[in-house]
Each structure stands twice: as structure tokens, then as C-alpha cells.
Amino acid sequence: MYEVISADDHVQEPPDLWTSRLSKTKFGDRIPHLERDTDGAEHWVVDGRVLLDGHVALTGALMPDVTQEPRQWSEVPPAAYVPADRLKAMDEVGVRYSVLFPTVAGPAGEAFGSIADPELELACVQAYNDWLIEEWAGASDRFVPQCIVPVTPAAAADEIRRAVAKGHRGVVYPAVPMELKALPHIAEPEFDPLWATCQELDVPLCLHAGASRSLQYSFPEGLPPRRAEALDAVTKPVSMVYVLNTFLFARILTRYPKLKLVLAESGLSWAMLDLEWSDHQFEHDELPSEGYEFTPLQLFHRQCYLNTWYDPVAPFAHYLGADRILWSTNLPRATSTWPKTQEIIERSFQGASDEVRKQVLWDNAASLYKV
């Protein structure tokens, strides 16, 4: 069995996470909580807004049928939200360490960003960050906790400092803050405190696919749910192309040369064309004459990481760099390789050397997260 550090898994937040930690007298019904429909289905509500497209949890991989998500909390499999059960699920597929992203708080940490009241946004964020340290990181050092943050740059920088002091080892940030709040474009210097803080504290900045559906081609309406979910799973990772190019061309990585940028759930193969094309266009459009020190590919090789769970690796590793690729199981999402993780690893690394396989499955994440 190959030993793996899974660089992208998701915790499932339990129903009392926020209700037990936020002041009912202060925030009332605006606190994230579960509500039940007349047909018994449950869904999350925060500040009057339904989260997770009306799902109670996203745990397809752990369900008896991967195409069926739970409808009520009572149907949610314990390995989604009980750390001890999660460890057993990890053991089954050779995952030694698991890097944690949220679910209810938004797979990309986007769910609370559109709350208008900054006090409520911060309270929701801090409750998640405290809970993750106490309940998960406290349960086992095999969990690598990553904090979420308020989307406003200065508030984000403050929360990163607080969370990292408590033990968080990565920062989950939604790639489209300007869609969530009245904020400038993410490439503007207003965001510098965020990049500067990640660089200073040496914690990776993790942008997870799916922060916004607006980065995907609009789906035909009326698609049956299973097909729509497959379509979403395929088109979400490639939406990261816009985010990656922004960091490469808008000089963010040039100004913060030690900032480490992780594109989580990005997939792999599309990026080779994007980067080859970016370098080609960079020369063809004569950008070296406009004061760029490095080509897009050079910046990528210096500071970026992609993350995949089933792509073939050998055809792309030589160009992208075997040190730029992270592996994951994506547990407990429907798209997860669990429980066939080892079988898919075997298939994905056909033609790759043992050294490349070890780098991707272990070494890269180990050094990034100081495991």
C-alpha cells in the first residue's frame, strides 16, 4: 500500500458547531443552523441564506450509493464528522495525514464572505477555526488544520495571525472576494496584507475550486441531478485557470516571492496547456518589454501547487514539475477515489518513476505543511 498525504479532504461541520459557540442573544437566527422542510429534508441556513445548494452535507463517497447525498443529518455517515471514524476511513486507503477544508463554511471558504455584518462574519469564521483545532487537530496529529478567514483583507490578515498561533497550517481563501463583498479586484494592492501575512508566517494560501459558479460555463437547465453533479465535478477544477493566470500575470507572485499558492481540487492536465500557452503568449505579445522578471511558467515552478486525485501523472510531471503536484483523496465528496484510492493511484502513476510517485504522494505535502 502506498502511504499518502491527502492534501485536500473536507470536514463535515456538525449541526451545533455554530449554535453552541455564537451568542444567541446577539445574533439570533442569523447563526448557521439546520432547518427542516415539511418533507423531512434538512438544510443549512445562515443569515437568512441557504447554504450548500440546500444539502445537509456533502458525503457521497461514504454513502451506500455514491450518487445519493444524505437528506437529513441522521443519514450523514460518522466518518464525515467524527475524527476517530475518519481516521479509520483514512487507514483503509493508506492516507497517513489529511489536510482539511470546510464544507458548510464553503468548500473554498466562501460561505460567510457575503454576510453583510462583519461582526457575524468574523464570529462564524472564528467558531469554525476554533472548532477545527479543538475537535480535529486535538484528536490526532494526522489532521492538518487550515483556517478560513473573513474576506476583507485586513480582517483576513488578523484572523490568519490568530489562527496560525492556535495551530492552523494553511489559509483557505475564496478566489472571488469581489463577488462576495464590495471589494476591489483581487489583483489590487488592497489585498497585499493578506499575501504578506501568508508569506511572513510561511503558511500556504489555498484557493479551492468552486468558489464561484460564475467561473463555469452555464449548465443547461433541467439536467437530471446525477448528470448535473458530474458536469459540475468536471468543469469546476478547470475554472481555476482564471485564478492561476491572475496570480501569474498581475505580478502578485512577483511581489511576494515566498508566497506559496495551492490550487486545491484543480486537476492537473489542463494546466500544462495553460502554462505552455501563457509562456508562448508572453513572448509573442512581447511582455518581457514590460518589466516582467520571470515567465509565467517560471513563477509557477517557483511558487504554485496543483492538486489532483485521479489524473494520469507521468505525461504532465516533466513539464509541470513533480515537485508542484499534490495528491488527495477528496474524502468524503462523491468525486473521491475512496475506497479505491490505492487502485487509482496505481493507474495514475503508470509510467512514472518511484521518485516522482513519492514526491507527489508524500514529499511535496510534507514539506509544504511541515509534516
Binding site: 452555464s218 439536467l223 458530474a230 458536469l231 493566470n245 505552455e276 500557452w277 505579445d285
Partner: protein, 398 residues
Amino acid sequence: MELKYGLISADSHAGFDRDDFTSRMSAAKWGDKIPHVAAAPPRERDADAAPSPFGGHEGGDGWTVYGQPPGALANCPALMPKNPVVSPKRWEEVPRGYYDPAERLKRLDEDGVDAEVLFPNPPGNTFFSFKDADFELDAVRAYNDALGDWTKVSDRYWPLMTLPWLQEMPGMVAELERAVAAGHKGINMPGHTPSGLPPIFNPHWDPIWDACQQLDIPVHFHGSAGIHAGMKLKQWDGYSRRQGHSAFTSTSAVTPAQIVPNMIFAGVTDRFPQLKVVFAEAGIGGLNYVISACDYEWEKRRLWEEGLITRPSETVRRQMFVNFWFEDEGIKLRHDIGIDNIMWESDFPHITAYYPDSWKAVDRVLEGVSESDRTKLLYENALRVYGVNATIKTPVPA
């Protein structure tokens, strides 16, 4: 036809003569709304811009459509003097080889290109945004007739029609059939259907796919033509023109990875298994992702139980075609992508073109590629996709 060079461009851009629309649309009916070239001050957003090769409107002449302020005049940097390359500002500066099909044949010969598939240039090929169905139909017919006439000059021109999207379905199909009779070899699709109408992969549009399948003409999605609209991250306004162009252009790498899964999972490709779909100016490597990602999710979610009976990678090999021009890494993986699914494109006369040195670029990218693969990539696949019979005069130089 007879191929002299053994090189077909599956993505070039036709130029329009200034009277292409005025000579084909009723002045009594449409007056100044007819697309024509007019002098105008620069658009506000272009007023301070440095001259660039990217076809904005910095003052001078530009195409006006439906009475709107003039936009770009001509996108033909490959034909303009170099150092620095700029777009023409006055109609008089537009090279004849851009819009005159007879003159343009000489440019093709200089470049060693036998034939070219023709995509649009200013004033473009979508006329639905004015919400005037009558106008759209007349403009579409003028567009299709103008490019249909290029085929009377030479069988080396393979134009792509545009459709009148505001017509009822019978009217759309009638124009489609009329354009094929006029010499068109396929359809250039808009990135999105007009607002208020169903999205492009809704079954509402099935008669279009059906007609294409029956007539054996491919549909085309062009990388930079509006597919990104509504899905891209808002472009940062701190870029210079060149930077913005670079940062945006390469994101077209993922347009097949957005469109193909939509077609597959919406069931279009299963309902129309002989429909051919071409992605222009999107590179070829995007299909690597489509193949592995769609197969993975199809298996994971057992989508054959939902009536999607064909494995997505088989659909891709059967129906999807992509074009290369610079892509060393993609060409190395040509057999993973599908050696029968790849064509060459020049993008002439846009900034991307290597004109008049296309062969130098071809030889560089295809270094070490076998003779039989070369012929497929350079012309055999294109002949098959566009249903053209041809003999080759001389073998392709290796």
C-alpha cells in the same frame, strides 16, 4: 481540389470589404443600420490607449452596426508592417489581401497554405444583440452570401456560416441549408445564445444538431469568441493592453473542458453521434483533461444508468476536433488526445499567425513526428472533417 503544399488551416479569419453588407442589404429598409465603415472618435475606453495590434478602436475608421458607435476596423496585424505591429486606423490602410479573396490567394501561396477555414473578423458574425429579428436575418444572409462568394473565387476558401438565432427553428434551418448550398462548410457558434432563449445545449436546439449531422457539416466553437463571457473572472483593469491580452488568451485552454462536458452530460453527443464539433484557437491539450475527467465521473456516477451509454473518451475520439499551432507538449501527447482529432491552424491574419513563416513553425512543432502522423495533422484530418476530396501534388517535406 489539388493540394500544392499539403497544409490546411482549420482556423483563419476572413476580412470584410467595406461594401459587403451595403451591397447586399436594402438601403430603403435599413439605412445607416447596415454594417458599414464610418469615421468616428475613439471609444472612451480606448482614448488613451497606445496603438496596439489587438484590434481596439483608437479613433479613425471603424465598423458600425445598427447605428451603434463604430468599433474595430480590421484585425490583420499579420499583414501590417512590423516594429511595432499596429492595426490600420483608416480604411485606406487596410491591405487588400485581408478582404479581397483573389488578392488573398497570393498571401496563401506566400505562406504555403492550400486552404483555410474562415472565421469572422469585424464587424463579426453575431447580429442578435439588437433584438431585431428582421435585421438579424438580413445581416446574417448578407454575411453568409459575402463569404459564400469567396468560394466562387477559389475552392481554397472554406467559410463558416452564422445563424439567425432570433428566427423560429424552421427559419434557422432554412438559412443553414441555404448557406451550405452557397458553399459554407460549417457553422461558427456564438459563445452563448441570445438572452431569453434556452442555453445552447438545451434540447430546444436539437434540430440544429440534426441538420448538421444530416448535412455532415461540423459546428465550431472559437476559443476567444464569447465562451468566456459570463464565466471568466472579471479581468483586472490594471493590465496594459498586451498584458491583458496574454493573461486572457491562454485561458482559452479550458474552453473545450467547459463545452465538451456540457455536450456529453446534456446528452447531445449521444443523441447525435455523427455530429462533429471543432474547437478553434483553444489548443489541443485541453482534451487530455476532458478525457480523464469525464471518464472518471462517468464511471464514478454510473451515468450509463442515466442513458449516457457512450464512454466519454469514445465520444471525444468520435466527434471532437482540436487545432494546434505552437504546442510542443500537446503534440508529444497526440496519440493520447487522438491522432485523427487534431488539425493545424494559422489564425491568419491575426497576431497569433506565423505568416509568412507558417512552415518554419510547423517544422519546429512537428520535429521528430512520423510522416504518417504529419500528413494527418497537416491536411488529411481537415479533408476528412470538412468532407473535401483532394489529391496532393507533392509529398509533404519532412
